[in-house]
C-alpha cells in the first residue's frame, strides 16, 4: 500500500505540473468565464445603444388627423425594448425638422395619406437613406396597429377594454402529480430548466474529463515503456500496484481539474452583475435536483475508472507515442458514443435507446446521468445499472492488469490480439 501511495503521489505531482494540463485548464477556465459573462455584456451593450440612440421620428400631420394624435399619445407597454421618440411637426418644411434631419438627430418622419375607411390612413416613412430600422419598424407597426384598433373600436369599447385587448396572453405550466413515474415508486421528477443546464454541464464536463485523463494515462504508460523506465518500475513494484497507482493519481488530477472548473462556474455565478442573468434565463438554483450531483459524482468516478483502465491497457500495448492515437481510437469511439447518446437525447430522455444505454457499462455513466437528471428512473434501475458497471470495472481491472503485465514488456511493432493472448500465456503470473 505504501508503494501505491508513492506512485499516486509521483503521478499526481508530475501530471498536474505538465504544461499541457496547466494550459488546457486555463483555457477552459477562460472560456467558461467569457461564456458566462457574455449575456451580461450583451445586455450592457444593448442598454447603452438604446440609451444613446432613442430614435427620434417626426410625425408630420395636420391636427385634423385623429390617427396622428393617437399615435403621438401611444406609449409602449412596459418591458418593451425599443425606444422611439415621436415628435409632432406641422409640415415637412418645418425648420426644426429639416435641421434635425440634416444633422442626423432625427431619423426620418412619417406622413399620412388619405384615409380609405375608418382606420389608419396609409403611412409613409421618409428618411435620407430610405431605410427603416427593424426595431423602429416593429415599434411603429405595433403602435399603428393599436391606433387602428382604437379608431375602429372608438365608442364601441371602453378604453379599459381596448387596453385589455392588448394585454399579453400568459400561458402557465403545471405538471400533473401522481402520474407516470410515480407508479414505480420514484419521486416524480420536477424537470425545471436548471436541471437541463446541470445535466448539460455535467455531460460536457465528464466527457471532457474522462477523455483528457484517459489519454493522459495511455500517454504516460507508453512514455514509460518507450523510455524503458518501465523495466525498472516493474522490478520495483507489482504491475497491478503500478497501474492502479497511475490510474488513481491521474484520477485525482481529473478531479482537481473538475474542482477548478466548478469553482470557476460558481465564482462567476456569484459575481454581482451575473445575479440577474440566472433569473433572466428563468433558472432557479433552489429547484435543482441535488440527487443528480451525488449520483453524478458516483457515475463520474465509475465511468472514469472503466475508461482509465481501458486506456491503461491500450497504452501498455503500444511501444511508441506516435502509434498511440491509432491504438486508442476504439476506446475513444466508445467515449463518443457514451457522450452523444445522452447529449442528443436531452429533449427526450426516456427513449428506448437511452434506457438500453443506461445499462450498458460503456455508456451507462452518462446515459444514466441523463435519466437521473431529467428523465424518469426508479431507484432499482439506478442500482442495477451501478452494479453492472462495478462488475464490469472489476473484470476490466483484472483484464487490464493482465494485458498491462504482458504489454509493457512487448516491444517492436504493435502486437495483434492473437499475439497478446499468446504472450499472456507465456508471461503467466
Amino acid at each position: 500500500m505504501n508503494k501505491l501511495g508513492t506512485i499516486i503521489g509521483f503521478t499526481f505531482k508530475n501530471k498536474a505540473r505538465t504544461k499541457s494540463f496547466t494550459i488546457t485548464t486555463l483555457i477552459i477556465v477562460l472560456l467558461i468565464t467569457i461564456g458566462m459573462n457574455i449575456p451580461y455584456f450583451i445586455d450592457k451593450f444593448n442598454g447603452e445603444d438604446e440609451a444613446a440612440e432613442a430614435a427620434r421620428i417626426g410625425v408630420v400631420a395636420d391636427s385634423g388627423i385623429p390617427a396622428a394624435a393617437l399615435l403621438l399619445d401611444y406609449t409602449a407597454p412596459e418591458g418593451s425594448d425599443s425606444k422611439v421618440a415621436l415628435e409632432s411637426y406641422a409640415s415637412p418644411e418645418d425648420a426644426a425638422l429639416v435641421k434635425g434631419l440634416d444633422e442626423g438627430d432625427i431619423e426620418g418622419y412619417l406622413t399620412f395619406g388619405t384615409a380609405a375607411g375608418g382606420g389608419v390612413p396609409p403611412v409613409t416613412y421618409h428618411s435620407k437613406d430610405g431605410e427603416l430600422d427593424q426595431d423602429v419598424q416593429m415599434y411603429l407597426q405595433t403602435a399603428l396597429q393599436q391606433v387602428n384598433t382604437q379608431l375602429i373600436a372608438e365608442g364601441k369599447l371602453t378604453p379599459e377594454e381596448v387596453s385589455a385587448m392588448f394585454a399579453p396572453v400568459s400561458i402557465g405550466t403545471e405538471q400533473l402529480s401522481g402520474s407516470a413515474g410515480g407508479a414505480d415508486g420514484a419521486a416524480p421528477e420536477e424537470t425545471s430548466p436548471i436541471n437541463f443546464v446541470i445535466v448539460y454541464v455535467l455531460l460536457i464536463l465528464f466527457f471532457m474529463s474522462i477523455m483528457l485523463t484517459g489519454n493522459m494515462i495511455a500517454a504516460e504508460v507508453t512514455a514509460e515503456k518507450s523510455s524503458r523506465i518501465m523495466e525498472i518500475l516493474i522490478t520495483s513494484a507489482s504491475p497491478l500496484t503500478q497501474m492502479f497507482g497511475k490510474v488513481i493519481g491521474v484520477f485525482l488530477v481529473g478531479l482537481m481539474q473538475i474542482g477548478i472548473l466548478v469553482a470557476t462556474i460558481a465564482a462567476n455565478l456569484l459575481l454581482p452583475h451575473n445575479a440577474g442573468v440566472l433569473a433572466d434565463f428563468d433558472l432557479d438554483l433552489s429547484q435543482m435536483n441535488y440527487g443528480i450531483l451525488v449520483y453524478g459524482l458516483i457515475l463520474y468516478i465509475l465511468g472514469f475508472f472503466l475508461y482509465a483502465l481501458m486506456y491503461a491497457a491500450v497504452g501498455s500495448i503500444v511501444s511508441r507515442t506516435e502509434e498511440l492515437g491509432q491504438a486508442t481510437m476504439p476506446v475513444m469511439m466508445l467515449g463518443f458514443v457514451n457522450y452523444y447518446i445522452p447529449t442528443f437525447s436531452v429533449a427526450a430522455p426516456d427513449t428506448l435507446l437511452v434506457k438500453i444505454a443506461s445499462y450498458v457499462p460503456f455508456t451507462s455513466p452518462l446515459s444514466m446521468l441523463l435519466r437521473i437528471g431529467i428523465g424518469e428512473v426508479a431507484v432499482w434501475e439506478i442500482a442495477v445499472s451501478l452494479v453492472i458497471l462495478v462488475v464490469t470495472i472489476l473484470f476490466f481491472a483484472w483484464l487490464a492488469a493482465k494485458i498491462y503485465r504482458t504489454g509493457v514488456l512487448m516491444y517492436g511493432k504493435r502486437p495483434s490480439i492473437k499475439e497478446i493472448r499468446k504472450a499472456m500465456k507465456a508471461y503467466k503470473f
Binding site: 514509460e224 524503458r228 523506465i229 523495466e231 520495483s236
Partner: protein
Amino acid sequence: MEALKLDKVVKQYGDKTAVNEINLKVEPGEIYGLLGANGAGKTTTMRMVLGLIYPDGGNILYNGKPYSNELQHLMGYLPEERGLYPKVKVSEQIIYLGKLRGMTTADADKSLRYWLDRFEVPEYYNKRIEELSKGNQQKMGFVAAVIHKPQFLILDEAFSGLDPVNVELLKDTVKELRDQGTSILFSTHRMEHVEELCRNITILHRSNTVVQGDIREIKKGYPREEVLLRTAGDVSGLAQIPGVRGVQLTERGYVLSIGELAAAQRILQHALGQSEVEHFEIKEPTLNQIFIRAVGESNE
C-alpha cells in the same frame, strides 16, 4: 552458498527458444560476465533473473530461495537503454525509484547526494534528465540502480556510450560494490572490461551456452598461438623456422603466429642469433579471440 544460482533455465517465446538450459552461479562479491552477440539471449536471461519474466523451465534461486516480492528491494537494474523519465528532475525520480525499492525519502535523498558527490556532479540534483548528456544520463541511471544498496546488481551494457574517464569511474565504483559483497551480473560487448572485472563468464550464442567458466581456465584451454618479438635490428628468415605459420611486421615489432608451442623457443634463439631482443612474449589468446572463435565455430 552462492547468492544467485540459475539451474537449467529455459525460456521459450512460442516455438523459439530464447534461452536454452543456462546454468550459472554468482557468489557474493563477484562480478559475473554474460557475453554474447546481439540476440544471443543475454537480456532475456537478465530479465528472468529480475523476475520480469518467468522461466519456462529450470530454477532461479536467490540466496537459496525462489523469487519472491521481497527481492524487489534487493535488486538493482540498469537497463541497456537508460530508463529514466526525460522530463523529471534527477532528484525527484531517483528518490521516487528509491522509495519504490523500500527506502524512506530521507534515506533516498541522502544516498542520492552521496552518489552525486561521488560522481562529482552535485549540481545535477535539480536538473532534468533531458538536460544531461547521454553519458551523464547513463551515470544517473547507474545511481538509480544502486541507490538502495542492492544485493543483486544487474548491469546490461553499463559502460556503453561513456568516455574513457567515466568508464574508469564506473568501473572503480562497480569494483567497490563488489568488494562490499554485491553480486553483480554484468553484460557487455567490450572484452577488455570483462577481463578486468570478471572472474567467471558465460558466452551465449544463439540461446546456447558455448563457453563457460573461470576466465584463466578458459584461456588455458585455448592454445597460445601468437608470439610478439621486438628486436634492436632486423631479423631475417623468421618465416622459415619450422612451426611458424605467418609473420607480420607491425609497429610493436614482429607478430608471429605459430602452430606449436615449441616453435616459440626456436624463434627466440633465431632472433638472439641475429640481433638484440628487447621484448619477447608468448601471448595468451585474448577474450576477444576466444569469443570470435567460440561464436564462429558454432556458426559452422
